[in-house]
C-alpha cells in the first residue's frame, strides 16, 4: 500500500470517527487529536483500525510517535512488512 492509499484510508477512518470534520483539510503536521477533537476512546478506535487494516500493532509507548497525519503515515510505512 502506497502513501496515497494509506492517506485515503486514514481520511475515511477519521471521517467515520469525527463525521462533522473535514480530515482532508488537516495540515500534515497538525495534531489530529487536537484538530479533530478526538478523545482517548476514539483514539483507541484509530489504533485498533491500524492493527486490523495494516496488521501493525502499536504499543502504547508509541502513541506519542503518531500524533499527526504525516507521523501516522510514516509509522505505517515503516512497519509494513
Amino acid at each position: 500500500m502506497n502513501q496515497i492509499e494509506i492517506r485515503k484510508h486514514l481520511f475515511r477512518l477519521l471521517r467515520s470517527i469525527a463525521p462533522e470534520t473535514e480530515p482532508e483539510e488537516l495540515r500534515p503536521d497538525q495534531n489530529i487529536r487536537e484538530a479533530l477533537n478526538i478523545d482517548s476512546f476514539d483514539y483507541l478506535v484509530l489504533v485498533t483500525d491500524i492493527e486490523e487494516t495494516f496488521g501493525i500493532e502499536t504499543p502504547e509507548d508509541d502513541y506519542g510517535k503518531i500524533g499527526t497525519l504525516e507521523e501516522i503515515e510514516n509509522y505505517i510505512q515503516q512497519k509494513l512488512p
Binding site: 462533522e20 478523545d39 476512546f41 483507541l44 489504533v47 502504547e60
Partner: protein
C-alpha cells in the same frame, strides 16, 4: 395482566415517540427482551421489558408521542389465562389508552428506513418516498447515501441540529432542576496516578489492542469499590435519602455535536476493570450513534464524569437528580508531589465530589475521597 408503560429514561424525560414495535400480539417475551424502539431527546432507545409473559395487546401506534407512564402494551403473565375480549378489564384499558401529547408530522417511512436514516444523520422528512403509498423505504435511503437520492443539500446539518437541540433542552431541564433543588457541596483531592497508570501499561501489554484499558475503566472501578464502603453517596433523594443496593454508575459520554448522554455501567463494583472496559467500549459507541437500551439510561445510581487525560485540571459537576452525588475527574498531568520529604514529579489527577447536602455532610464526602485515593494506589486489588 402486566401493564407495560412508557419508561422514564432520566429525570429530564417527559415523553417519548414510539418509532417501532419489535413484538406482535401473541409473542412470548422474557425479562431483558427489547420490545420497542422509542425516540427521545437522547436518540432512539431500545426499550426492554422487565417481566415475562405473552404480549396481549399493543395500545399505542408507531409514530405516536406519549407522556412517560402511559401504558403502551398489556402482557399476560405465563400463569394467567388471557382475558376474553369483552372482560371487565376493557373499560379500564380504554380509559388508560395513550393520549398523544403532540401530533407528530406523519412522515411515511418504514422502521428500517428510519433507522438507516438516523444512523446516517439523514433528514428523512424531505426525502421523496418511492414505496407503496409514498412510503420512504430502504432503497430511498440507500440512494441518498450513495448521492443519487432526492433531498435538499443541507438536510444532514438540519437533522443534526434538531437532535442537538433536543439533547440541549433535556440537559437544560435536568441541570436547572438540579441547581434549583439540590444544595451542592464540593470536595476535591489530588491523587497520584503513578501506580494506576503503571498497572494499566503492564496490563495493556498483555492484551490485544482492541481490549486495551483506558484510565476511565480503572476510575469507574475505583469509584464503585469506594461506594461499597460509603454507600450514602450511591443513592437517590426522594423525600429522604434512599440508598441503593446495586452500584450502577452513569458515565458521562460527550457527543460530537454537543451535549452528553449518561449510560450506566451496571454492577461496576462486581466487574473487573477489563469487564468495565468492555461495557464502556460498547456503550460509548452506541451512545455516540444514539442507540442505547432503556435500562442503560434509566437506572444509574451515581454519575462519573471524566474529562480524559488531556482535560483541564478540575471539574466541579452538577448532580443529576434524583441522585445525590457526582464524581468528576480532571485531566492527568505531571505535577510535583512531596512524599517522605522527597520531591518527585508524578502524574496527578484531581477527583472532585459534588454531593447533595440534604443527603450527606462533608465528613461522608471526605471519607469517600480518601478511600478512592487509597483504592487508586492499589490498582491490582481492584
Amino acid at each position: 395482566m402486566i401493564e407495560f408503560s412508557m419508561p422514564s429514561l432520566g429525570a429530564d424525560m417527559e415523553a417519548g415517540t414510539l418509532t417501532a414495535w419489535r413484538v406482535k400480539p401473541g409473542e412470548f417475551v422474557k425479562k431483558g427482551d427489547i420490545i420497542a424502539d422509542v425516540e427521545t431527546q437522547k436518540g432512539i432507545i431500545e426499550i426492554e421489558v422487565f417481566d415475562e409473559g405473552t404480549i396481549e395487546k399493543l395500545l399505542i401506534k408507531e409514530d405516536e408521542k406519549v407522556p412517560v407512564g402511559t401504558i403502551m402494551a398489556l402482557i399476560s403473565a405465563d400463569h394467567e389465562v388471557p382475558a376474553p375480549p369483552k372482560s371487565k378489564q376493557l373499560p379500564e384499558e380504554k380509559s388508560k389508552e395513550a393520549s398523544p401529547v403532540v401530533e407528530p408530522a406523519r412522515i411515511r417511512i418504514s422502521p428500517l428506513a428510519r433507522r438507516m436514516a438516523e444512523q446516517n444523520n439523514i433528514d428523512f422528512s424531505i426525502i421523496e418516498g418511492t414505496g407503496e403509498r409514498g412510503f420512504i423505504v430502504k432503497e430511498d435511503i440507500e440512494k441518498v447515501i450513495s448521492g443519487k437520492g432526492k433531498r435538499m443539500p443541507k438536510a444532514t446539518v438540519d437533522k443534526v441540529s434538531t437532535a442537538t437541540e433536543g439533547i440541549r433542552s433535556a440537559i437544560a431541564s435536568a441541570m436547572s432542576r438540579s441547581n434549583r433543588e439540590i444544595p451542592h457541596y464540593y470536595l476535591s483531592e489530588k491523587i497520584d496516578m503513578s501506580n494506576a497508570l503503571n498497572w494499566l501499561l503492564d496490563t495493556n501489554k498483555q492484551l490485544p489492542v482492541k481490549q486495551r484499558l483506558l484510565p476511565a475503566a480503572i476510575l469507574i472501578k475505583a469509584v464503585a469499590n469506594s461506594l461499597v464502603i460509603v454507600p450514602e453517596l450511591n443513592a437517590i433523594w426522594d423525600n429522604g435519602l434512599q440508598m441503593k443496593r446495586d452500584i450502577h454508575p452513569g458515565f458521562v459520554v460527550s457527543l460530537r455535536n454537543g451535549g452528553v448522554v449518561i449510560p450506566s455501567v451496571h454492577h461496576a463494583d462486581k466487574k473487573s476493570p477489563q469487564e468495565i472496559m468492555k461495557v464502556l467500549a460498547d456503550v460509548i459507541s452506541r451512545a455516540r450513534s444514539m442507540r442505547l437500551k432503556s435500562s442503560e439510561l434509566s437506572d444509574s445510581t451515581v454519575t462519573i464524569t471524566s474529562l480524559g487525560e488531556r482535560g483541564v485540571e478540575i471539574v466541579q459537576g452538577v448532580i443529576y437528580p434524583p441522585q445525590v452525588a457526582l464524581i468528576g475527574f480532571g485531566g492527568i498531568r505531571e505535577e510535583p508531589i512531596v512524599e517522605n520529604k522527597m520531591l518527585g514529579i508524578r502524574p496527578v489527577i484531581t477527583a472532585t465530589l459534588a454531593a447533595d447536602h440534604r443527603a450527606t455532610d462533608g465528613h461522608v464526602g471526605d471519607r469517600f475521597l480518601k478511600i478512592l485515593k487509597e483504592n487508586l494506589q492499589k490498582p491490582e486489588q481492584l
